[in-house]
Symmetry: C2
Subunit: 311 residues, 2 copies
Amino acid sequence: MNFTFLGTGAGMPAKERNVTSMALGFPEYDGDLWLFDCGEGTQRQVLYTSVKLTKLTVIFVTHLHGDHLFGLPGILGSRSFQGAETPLHLIGPVGLKEYVETSLKLSGTHLHFPVTVIEIEHNGVVYENAHFVVTARELDHGIKSYGYRVTEKDQQGELLVDKLKAIGVTPGPIYKLIKEQSEVELPDGTKLETAAFIGEKRKGRIITVLGDTRTCAATVELAENADVLVHEATFRGDAEQLAHDYHHSTSIQAAETARQSSVKTLILTHLSSRYQRKEQLGLLNEAKSLFPHTFLAHDLWHFQLKMQPRA
Amino acid sequence: MNFTFLGTGAGMPAKERNVTSMALGFPEYDGDLWLFDCGEGTQRQVLYTSVKLTKLTVIFVTHLHGDHLFGLPGILGSRSFQGAETPLHLIGPVGLKEYVETSLKLSGTHLHFPVTVIEIEHNGVVYENAHFVVTARELDHGIKSYGYRVTEKDQQGELLVDKLKAIGVTPGPIYKLIKEQSEVELPDGTKLETAAFIGEKRKGRIITVLGDTRTCAATVELAENADVLVHEATFRGDAEQLAHDYHHSTSIQAAETARQSSVKTLILTHLSSRYQRKEQLGLLNEAKSLFPHTFLAHDLWHFQLKMQPRA
Ligand SMILES: [Zn+2]
Ligand SMILES: [Zn+2]
């Protein structure tokens, strides 16, 4: 699972940080690719990465503020121009559909792939495929803003073929039954308990990507035991009142949520452009003092989360 | 009059060229500033220039294709964030109003200045202020696309105060009459022919900025005798059929229009990203072979057009 941070700034683009977007790529699953948010200029940021828009299957929009949204029509147009014909899902707050349809219609943009817009009506599962379930919960940001919890399905253990062959059970339809049932009857009539012939399970990973938000119960619940929590840190710890007034979080609050939720890794993003490089380091360090395994994302930064070992 | 090319590419952004936008600044008129088109990422390009969004008074949109439009909501938001409270005019094809209103509404963007959207219903004058008249004409681009002809008003000659004083006419309300009338009666009853006491006129400048288009009668008429013609050159001369099929022009066609219209300077922009740097030079040179005073714009390139000398 590869995180590529395409934009890590808040509000307006700066030279150093473009507005928000993050790609999540799955080389372990045929290179499937998702985006979380799509601020203006995201399609240009993509040019500086190995992200392939043709592999994109889902775009999760956390909320409709411009710094998370205004790059969306351009991404759709680029993906089509690059020859993609496979369906794309857009998931986000109510209003997303009107925004996308109006932008495409008025700009005369004709896509060569089908787009399905799923507007979130209430908390719960918003997407599922063979490997993942994604749930959304509303956060606290003045306008509807969602956090997404991506739960990878546990992988069943593999069939221990050599061990089966050793007792004379050769490949055939029986192998499917052995995987699915706790006990099977072999052709010679004997019963076989299957557990001993199945390898170890692989636990799925959990990652949580939050939209802009104040600290609230939902942030902690969405992040519970996550392997990676991507959390906004618009403000420094000393600007708690400002963060509250603008419906944002401080780096300290993000770290506190990471700690309470027992996540493994915290990644801070969505920094206000008011902070110069040196101050950004301070913002990271204060978070680390509370939650040591914290990273501060910057544009084009790449983070890899490996699969869990089988156990 | 300062031209700042914020984006000079066609269709999709490239590393070298962002999508289309051009700023036209008037240091001779209090730093008034206009934009022509506003492709995605324009607000970030602005960060690399001396362009001040607070000075912006008009945005002319040539057509609603995304590479000319999708940066508009971001520019509006940035201008507001930077503290602008003065009115802004948006001028462009029908549909511009719906696009702007929908984007601002759904993204919860509240501007601290009034916006007036003027949708062009037919060819003719679309804007006028103390110094300029702007007319628009429809071009040939598949969707409604306009070219703009900006005509600076001629400046009256200045009163030759020393010469008036020398014949005993001292400053007072009479000076206004001398400027306005061909003959005035002085306090002592004598008639004065005013022409000899007024300096030389300054002819206004003409600049023409075209939207995407095939060569057509409108391009030539809009450009007639212009000091500067800004013309798209999406394709190289050898791709005339391609240019026609996609409703665009070649560099050769742009140069031919410049020649026919007797413009003084031709600036090529809106290049397809298919052309590498060396090919771009070829594209410029073939235009120059037809129309020598041609420039090829690149991102952040600056061009100055001085006032006409008084004559
Ligand atoms: Zn926000
Ligand atoms: Zn166009």
